[in-house]
Amino acid sequence: MRQVAGPLEEIVGAENVLTEAEDLFCYAYDSTHVEFMPDVVVRPGSADEVARIVRLANELEVPVVPRGSGTGLSGGSVPIEGGIVMDLTRLNRILEVNVSDLYAVVEPGTITLDFANKVEAEGLLYPPDPGSNSASTLGGNVAENAGGLRGLKYGVTKDYVMGLEVVSPTGELFNTGSKTVKCVTGFDLTRLIVGSEGTLGVVTKIILKLVPKPEFAQAMQAIFDEVGKAASAVSAIIRAGIVPATLEILDNVTINAIEDYKPAGLPRDAAAVLLIEADGAKEAVQRQVAQIDEICRREGARKIDVARDEAEKAKVWAGRRAALAALARVKPTTILEDATVPRSKIPEMVAAINSIAKEYNLTVGTFGHAGDGNLHPTFLVDERDKDEMARVEKATYELFRIGLSLGGTLSGEHGIGITKAKFLHWELGKNGVEVMKRIKRALDPKNILNPGKMELGGGRK
């Protein structure tokens, strides 16, 4: 790979090219269990450098894999064919926060939470809040179309991307979208790039939409003895025309894991807890909370607690925030999925998750965004137990099949990457996958950018 490292050094400087085994080893992974060694890591400092690197890769026919913080949960930034890992974290400037026109311009390596905090200091809100936001990059969020806790009311990353600056797979810089609220000029290339998982272009600049910060928010939790009742309550809330900012569910295994780890006062015998937050104008929020309270009671909630102050609100969310950590402590390895179904199908999905776990003799804790049907069944295993790992693979296979049969989707927010690639045709059909492949071939004739992902054609010739 010396023939690649040399020219790369000319582009970005020797200090920004990593070739030692110890470095490469640490860019072989993201947050999944898939690992492949890159041949070289490059850390560009400008869009121009990104473009030159991609052109060089085309010339030498070496794969380039864009990488943000490597917190992906589908193997997106793992270089399964080796080649160049392009670490974009040096491009981390917030270039503009425009309070009058409600947009911001950022570079892709900006950490999501740093940006959200900066925007909040200006009295505005950037809603997408993936659980990994303290570490993930906005570029990674765009490439995965990341969601978060506020998805129900505020939508996901794609709903906030107004425009992009992109380096194409053949190394030309182009812009999509604009800073205006409306824009119908040309194809909606912004939407094509968002969620393309680094296969159709390297994002080098992002124009993000901002919204005013809601004046008031109130949180509550409702405890249920049956998952089915909790799920009916979710449907009933939405049917009543109420859209809470957040509507989360924790199942019994998760509740117990939390109580073992950082007790949040959740009843260990409860089948499910709904955690709900409404935001907006004060009177409206108070009215909504009263309505939600009534609906939950009617749907059979055993107990409902409305947070009376900031401290109680923090307590409601402490449990949810501890969920993954609590589950992670039960066993060494966690396999986190993001099965998503129409929300009315949550009871069936939860039942299916539990019966699959039973069938394959696995422990599973489920929590997630009940409001948008996006659940996070989390299998608790030990990576050293080969048999268990084989069983978990079969279980996730089963999970995807059932999710789809319920009218759901393979991935609500974590993306397809490698881990779900082989199931893609189940959902899109042969023709759907073929259309994606044609787009890929048209933009990336040599299959340079992040090859082997999303069923777009593995491997260079």
């Binding site: 110890e22 470095d23 640490c26 992974y29 917190t71 670490d87 570490a135 060494p332 966690t334």
Partner: protein
């Protein structure tokens, strides 16, 4: 300290989520994944499982860690990267030896009982300028206190002021005390950080016996790392409780003040307080230093942007100063910027190592930030009272 045998059990807990990223001060400066807690843990796991050859270069990477434990506070899986790193250093040292700087450090301690390899007699040089009466009191036969000064405070003139201030305060408070003088030997903490632990049990027993022969009620250290080692490591290393109490100077000063044994005068100044990692996050001592500062009339305390359990290491931990000095100095410079952001011109710490690193950074940046150890500040207040 953990047993290398437990290593595998600990590294496997890392789920590679990357949430340690915003926490790790070394990663913040270096920017590449191998410097992050996640990267180091992965490299250690890889070397243990022979997925990657254990080379000198790999072992050296594992020294890019302050042992500051900040990653742990951000880690959902409760991965103790600081402890994993220490155990790995010792495990890898067994297999391929120590890095040169660490081998030299070890040889110094083995040969001379101190980290600099200086003559034992040099350990008392800091007392040369103290008044005779002060030292007289230090020879008390049945002392309340034995004061353990530690290598850095005894051997680096830049921080002589700390032990000098502390023993002066003991005098002013009428405390009967002893020092170990030339008999004092390195507590062993730098060896643990180096991964050179083969004689650590002997060192612990030697030090414990030497203190027990003086039969004090209390052992006080001004060094948070010595404190941590005496308090947490020694009982484990010698397999029993110590028969004296171990306190850090901040705790002891808090006690003297609350008992009214120190008369405090006005110190009209605004300061900020830096929590040393070994004192705060690693020993849970956050309130005593603050209580001491609050007791000083006229003193205004403004907190750093990150304080208490999220205090950021000054760069002085984990022997990083010896293994990766350039990274260490960047971390210290960030601390100076944090101090300046509070508006205070003086930062108080409770650690000679913090004082050294932060003062050095202030000087190199021409930032004009003054660094005082809490003992020095309390002495100022006592002297102001007359």
């Amino acid at each position: 300290m953990i047993d290398p045998l437990e290593l595998e059990e600990l590294v496997v807990k890392c789920m590679k989520c990357g949430l340690c990223k915003p926490a790790c001060p070394v990663f913040k400066e270096v920017g590449v994944e191998s410097a992050l807690a996640r990267g180091k843990v992965r490299l250690i796991k890889g070397a243990l499982r022979k997925e990657i050859p254990l080379t000198r270069a790999l072992a050296d990477r594992i020294y890019m860690c302050l042992g500051c434990r900040q990653c742990f506070t951000a880690c959902p899986s409760g991965v103790r990267t600081d402890e994993i790193v220490l155990a790995a250093r010792s495990e890898f040292a067994d297999r391929i030896g120590l890095p040169q700087t660490m081998a030299a450090l070890r040889d110094n301690v083995y040969r001379s009982g101190n980290i600099r390899g200086e003559e034992k007699a040099h350990r008392t040089l800091w007392t040369d300028t103290l008044p005779r009466e002060t030292l007289e009191r230090a020879k008390h036969a049945a002392p309340e206190v034995v004061y353990f000064a530690g290598c850095v405070a005894s051997l680096y003139p830049m921080v002589y002021g700390i032990p000098q201030a502390f023993v002066t305060l003991l005098n002013k408070a009428g405390v009967s005390f002893q020092m170990m003088g030339e008999e004092e030997e390195c507590c062993g903490f730098p060896l643990i950080a180096a991964g050179a632990v083969e004689r650590i049990k002997d060192i612990a027993s030697h030090n414990v016996m030497s203190i027990e022969s003086r039969a004090p009620k209390t052992l006080v250290t001004t060094c948070p790392s010595c404190y941590h080692t005496w308090k947490e490591e020694y009982p484990r290393l010698i397999g029993r409780e110590l028969n004296f109490e171990v306190l850090h100077s901040t705790q002891y000063l808090e006690r003297l003040i609350s008992e009214g044994r120190l008369k405090l005068g006005h110190v009209d100044m605004t300061v900020t307080y830096h929590d040393p990692c070994d004192l705060g996050r690693k020993s849970g001592i956050f309130d005593p230093p603050r209580n001491v500062l609050k007791a000083l009339p006229g003193l205004k305390l403004v907190e750093l942007p990150s304080s208490g359990v999220s205090s950021v290491c000054c760069g002085g931990g984990g022997n990083l100063e010896m293994t990766f000095p350039a990274v260490q100095s960047k971390i210290a410079q960030r601390k100076i910027r944090d101090v300046l952001s509070t508006g205070a011109k003086t930062v108080v710490s409770a650690c000679q190592q913090c004082k050294r690193t932060i003062s050095t950074a202030s000087r190199s940046m021409k930032a004009g930030v003054k660094v005082l150890d809490i003992t020095e500040l309390v002495l100022r207040s006592v002297e102001a009272e007359g």
